[in-house]
Symmetry: none
Subunit: 86 residues, 2 copies
DNA sequence: CCCGATTTGTGCGTATGTATC
DNA sequence: AGATACATACGCACAAATCGG
């Protein structure tokens, strides 16, 4: 359970942080990650996807930029109402 | 009392957190840190070994990965039965 | 029952070094 | 030469749980 590392493929001409962000956005839009749920922390994301912590941070920043999550300092990052696709 | 900072040598090609984890594992296997005893807190470890708290956290995580300790949130980290050396 | 100290958990920012593309 | 990515390391702040007085 919870194993889905194959999302990351360093050989693809797509940035790792974008690949992971896309995967998480998919999980949000399909409801696998429900609104209000807490996203895994940077360290956990790094371990789950087999990426570095710095990259995990870029993933979260990307998700924030997409308006998919909100981060509460010292608490965590939570799924928010996703905007329309586009 | 309790001064043993020379364990840490940033110039060595061995990560600081590994150096400290090795030192603690030694203390566990020699019985200096008996099973059931409470390991010093992250802040204390940081001060004792002259490292940052973040690094002390990685030390504890490493010890957990080695199966040498168990951590109880908001309580502390305790020495557990060490597995066979390998 | 509340207050403060302690401790782990988590986040943010930054820096260094290496490797790859 | 530069960007991406990885791993380590330092430092700081706050949250939440626990425990003792």
């Amino acid at each position: 359970m919870g194993d889905q590392e194959p999302v990351v493929n360093p050989n693809l001409p797509v940035y790792v942080y974008v690949q992971v962000a896309d995967a998480i956005e998919r999980d949000i839009r399909t409801g696998r990650l429900p609104v209000g749920a807490r996203l895994a922390g940077e360290q956990d994301l790094a371990e789950q996807y087999g990426i570095a912590r710095g990259t995990a941070r870029r993933v979260v920043q990307e998700l924030r930029d997409r308006g998919l999550v909100v981060t509460l300092p010292s608490k965590g990052t939570y799924i928010s109402e996703p905007p329309a696709e586009g």
